[in-house]
């Protein structure tokens, strides 16, 4: 039987990738963010998951406005990161897990979701940066990847409730996966930030703390706002919290926060990293 051991939630700012490429992890500007990853790295070394299921948003590497899926599930044998326009391409490939991808697709379509399925896809910094953060070094990644992309680029975006329900459906699929594999779930992006308009640079510490406080014990508290409410509260790109909401939905057991790090600012972003443990709920 499969085990879903926990969730990793982290910002994915491209500047973090640049800092990694330049070896700046211990520089004063970056250290308070990178230090927040240490408990996550230890957790992953200890738990040794076989698979990472990653909820993220593509920023214009794989998807363009010609075809913009609301939800897309990767089902490729391998994924790669490529140059996104600023010359950084992480060269470690990501092994896929097509059998699990198709199991998830079968299961969530039976649950009345309608994802786009991708047998060939690139993954952008929203997958690459979290992987570099979690498994630093030059060796291949020790997990197989199933990427699940959520549209946070072109409105209308899916509602927070819909994203949470998608996560729950993926969680049910993972729980019914018959192989003896350990799975970790990722939600990437956020927290509050806005890149465009007269309100560029918007940060909302109160809203971020509300999300961080409720993520483990009461994720449904995050569903009281619709997507435009979240844009108003957290900024146009703060809406990437949808990826966290989906990932949290996939953790259906007994969930406990193991570590949380919130650091403002990284680039234009309120950066955060959260580690949640997911244990099977015992039934008397």
């Amino acid at each position: 039987m499969s085990t879903i051991c926990g969730g990793v939630f982290t910002s994915h700012v491209p500047g973090i990738g640049k800092a990694i490429a330049q070896g700046l992890q211990q520089a004063p500007y970056w250290k308070p963010f990178f230090d927040g990853l240490v408990p996550v790295q230890h957790f992953l070394w200890r738990e040794k998951p076989d698979v990472a299921v990653v909820f993220y948003n593509d920023h214009g590497l794989n998807f363009f406005l010609d075809k913009m899926p609301t939800f897309a599930v990767g089902a490729a044998p391998e994924y790669r990161h490529e140059d996104e326009g600023w010359g950084i391409a992480f060269d470690r490939p990501y092994r896929g897990h097509p059998e699990l991808s198709w199991h998830i697709i079968e299961s969530i379509v039976a649950d009345e979701f309608d994802p786009v399925t991708c047998q060939a896809m690139l993954v952008d910094h929203a997958v690459a940066v979290p992987f570099e953060l979690c498994w630093p070094g030059a060796e291949g990644f020790p997990v197989k990847l199933v990427p699940i992309a959520i549209n946070t680029v072109q409105h209308p975006l899916p509602s927070p409730k819909r994203c949470h329900d998608l996560g729950k459906a993926v969680g049910r699929a993972l729980e019914s996966w018959p192989r003896d594999e350990k799975i970790v779930v990722f939600g990437t992006g956020g927290l509050s930030h806005q890149l465009e308009g007269g309100r560029a640079g918007h940060i909302n510490v109160d809203y971020d703390k509300f999300c961080l406080r409720n993520l483990a014990p009461d994720p449904e508290a995050l569903l009281q706002h619709d997507t435009l409410d979240i844009v108003e509260l957290a900024g146009s790109q703060g809406v990437e919290i949808l990826n966290w909401i989906a990932a949290r939905g996939a953790l259906r057991g007994s969930v406990r926060e193991l570590a949380s790090n919130y650091h403002v600012p990284i680039s234009n972003t309120a950066a955060a990293t959260v580690l949640l443990e997911n244990r099977e709920t015992l039934i008397a």
Partner: protein, 152 residues
């Protein structure tokens, strides 16, 4: 609409009329066509996706280095190839980021163009808010906070 009576005079009406979030969201208003308007916050929707298509398509092409080089070698020819509108061309020529956004540009794609100009997202922030770069960075640092919890 009774809840409005509790709002102080002069506060803009919130288009969101549900779930008791009004007190948390006093900021947005409603456009003549019924769209929610969040001040200083362009919402990239179907309208922008249509009007900005050519500009965003050009920017999407800059994922490839050869295309960035082709743009740098002859930006006019490159813009013509993607059939940018006159407003879009003018905005690009003048490095006018707010005009690019008004012409339907999406910031994720524009970031690739900005990279060609040697501008990062903090430069873009300064250009759009009318601040100098140092002022924009200082405004971000004004929120400075680090909070860490580790379970026993």
């Amino acid at each position: 609409m009774t809840a409005d009576n509790e709002d102080p005079p002069g506060r803009p009406q919130n288009a969101s009329d549900k779930k008791g979030v009004r007190t948390m969201l006093p900021f947005s208003t409603q456009s003549a066509t019924g769209k929610r308007v969040i001040p200083g916050t362009p919402v990239f929707d179907g309208e922008s996706a249509q009007s900005g298509y050519a500009l965003n398509a050009m920017c999407f092409s800059f994922n490839e280095k050869a295309n960035r080089e082709a743009f740098m070698a002859d930006d006019e020819a490159y813009m013509a190839r993607f059939a940018l509108t006159e407003a879009q061309k003018k905005a690009v020529r003048e490095r006018d980021v707010p005009a690019m956004i008004s012409a339907g540009g999406n910031v994720y794609y524009l970031a690739k163009l900005a990279g060609i100009f040697g501008l990062n997202v903090q430069d873009l922030g300064a250009l759009q808010t009318g601040m100098r770069l140092e002022e924009f960075k200082a405004a971000l640092l004004a929120h400075s906070i680090t909070e860490r919890r580790v379970a026993a």
